[in-house]
């Protein structure tokens, strides 16, 4: 807890300017800045889980306003300096990015880091039938593009998020690092077992995400609610079908990392819908458009045959049990998507795109 004197702080002690004479030729330091602090004397103590950024939210440092007017890079709680030119921080409303979970998720990401180079037991990789290896490599290729899309859209908006909501910027920095790490792990998997990368994705949903320019909330709806919910099912299916401990480690850790991203995404969408009048209606419109693109991608993406081959243990099995497993996976995605939409207060069951609705049969 904080332990500080009341009122605006002043420095406890100023260096004595009348002290010993300085060294000739060395400029005398200026100490005027030492008197400048909006709140001084703060002593936050670590709790059982250490000193977390969420613990720092005391006094003025914990005041998270609905609107952050400051367009400079000033840290929340620091004194503003007159004359600093504004920068293009266009997202200055709390409902445009906030999630209460962001600070905790940042800590979780930092604490639960993993190292593909040494944590993944690469020596457990064994030769697979060529059709299966090609399918695994194709999935690695597409998931790499999912991850680099996530990096690009986060960094596009992160640049515009004001520093009043620094917890979100901190968490999103870890999310981009998580994505970089999964790109690393997938590339290593594809290039270490006799295969190589497959063909580039046509990228309908990637493009939709990258071209969402109405605000971070719009991008988050596409990135996390639409694509992210599907990607979680894909990762879970891949863990279930892992061929060795190396894949088991990669997909097990990828699920945990991705789950943090989804937690932030769902939490932010919930915050936005519940704190901004009209947002639920906007979300309905966005999701109507997003479902069209998602359904089209499900129809034509190479993920479909590649995953069916992995789940079926080869091309032959991919035509039967593999495809059945894949269709059930997509059915689970649509059911989860509808359930989360309900939780967000944006029910979609009655308006779900018919090309997605058909997966509910599986």
């Amino acid at each position: 807890m904080a332990n500080k004197p009341q009122g605006m702080a002043v420095p406890a002690a100023m260096p004595d300017a009348s002290g010993p004479a300085g060294v000739e030729g060395v400029p005398v330091p200026s100490f005027e800045w030492m008197g400048l602090s909006a709140e001084w004397g703060v002593r936050i103590k670590p709790g059982e889980a250490g000193l977390r950024i969420g613990d720092l939210n005391v006094g003025i440092y914990g005041e998270v306003p609905e609107v952050w007017e400051d367009q400079t890079r000033r840290p929340r709680g620091a004194l503003p300096r007159p004359g600093v030119p504004p920068l293009p921080y266009n997202l200055r409303n709390k409902h445009q990015m906030w999630a209460d979970s962001a600070a905790g998720l940042y800590e979780e990401a930092i604490q639960r880091r993993w190292i593909p180079a040494t944590d993944v037991p690469w020596n457990t990789l064994k030769a697979l039938p060529e059709d299966v290896e090609r399918a695994v490599c194709q999935v690695c290729t597409e998931l790499t593009q999912y991850a680099n899309t996530e990096i690009e859209i986060i960094t596009y908006w992160q640049d515009q998020m004001s520093y009043g909501y620094y917890e979100v910027k901190q968490f999103l920095a870890t999310a981009t690092f998580d994505c970089a790490r999964i790109i690393e792990a997938l590339r290593k998997r594809a290039l270490s077992n006799g295969g190589g990368l497959g063909v580039e994705s046509r990228g309908l949903v990637n493009r939709m995400i990258l071209e969402s320019r109405g605000g971070w909330t719009e991008s988050a709806a596409y990135l996390y609610l639409v694509r992210g919910t599907y990607a979680m099912q894909v990762l879970r299916g891949l863990l279930n079908a892992a061929h060795n401990d190396a894949e088991r480690m990669i997909f097990g850790k990828a699920i945990e990392d991705h789950a943090r991203h989804l937690t932030y995404g769902y939490d932010h969408l919930k915050y936005s819908v519940s704190h901004q009048a009209g947002e639920a209606d906007i979300m309905q419109t966005l999701l109507s458009l997003g479902e069209v693109m998602m359904a089209a991608e499900l129809e034509e993406s190479t993920m479909r045959p590649a995953l069916a081959i992995i789940f079926g243990g080869g091309i032959q099995g991919g035509r039967t049990i593999g495809m059945e497993t894949y269709l059930h996976l997509v059915g689970d995605f649509v059911r989860n998507y509808l359930s989360i939409c309900d939780w967000l207060g944006v029910p979609r069951a009655q308006m779900l795109h018919p090309m997605l609705k058909k997966y509910l049969e599986y």
């Binding site: 979680m232 879970r236 863990l239 279930n240 097990g252 945990e256 789950a259 937690t263």
Partner: protein, 144 residues
């Protein structure tokens, strides 16, 4: 020899899990959650704090609301999972929590208060819980 399910069995698994960090490979990293396991009419609350399983105790129906999420499945499925762990030293791919969940029509993990945020912890800490049950390979087990 401990019988599954029983508080004694869960305590023995906890002791194995807490005493050997090499068992934490899958879910390395701090884990902060209170979850519940429901086996037929028996319920257990399990508390993870940091790198340890801090507590596990029997819980009443009312106490289950304290859980971030509950893992519930029929006894035969619990038994199959534990027996598989006993046989292989860790769950093979048909008997991980993830696999079992995928194979069911309804998810085996749910929030008792329909809170999506808390239910997501099942996925965020999935490998910690897998590590916990994999630790039961070192506990001599009988079944009720």
């Amino acid at each position: 020899m401990a019988q599954f399910p029983s508080l004694d069995w869960f305590h023995q698994v906890r002791d194995v899990y807490n005493s050997d960090s090499s068992l934490h490979k899958g879910g390395g990293g701090a884990c902060h959650t209170t979850a519940a396991f429901k086996v037929e009419d028996q319920s257990y609350l399990i508390v993870f704090e940091g790198l340890k399983c801090a507590d596990i105790r029997q819980a009443s129906a009312a106490e289950l609301k304290d859980a971030d999420f509950i893992i519930e499945m029929p006894y035969e499925l619990w038994k199959g999972m534990i027996a598989n762990v006993q046989s292989h030293g860790k769950a093979d791919l048909q008997y991980t929590l993830n696999s079992i969940d995928l194979q069911q029509d309804e998810s085996i993990a749910y929030s008792p208060v329909d809170d999506q945020y808390r239910q997501d912890l099942f996925y965020r800490y999935n490998q910690n819980f897998q590590d916990f049950f994999d630790a039961s390979a070192r506990v001599e087990t009988t079944f009720a």
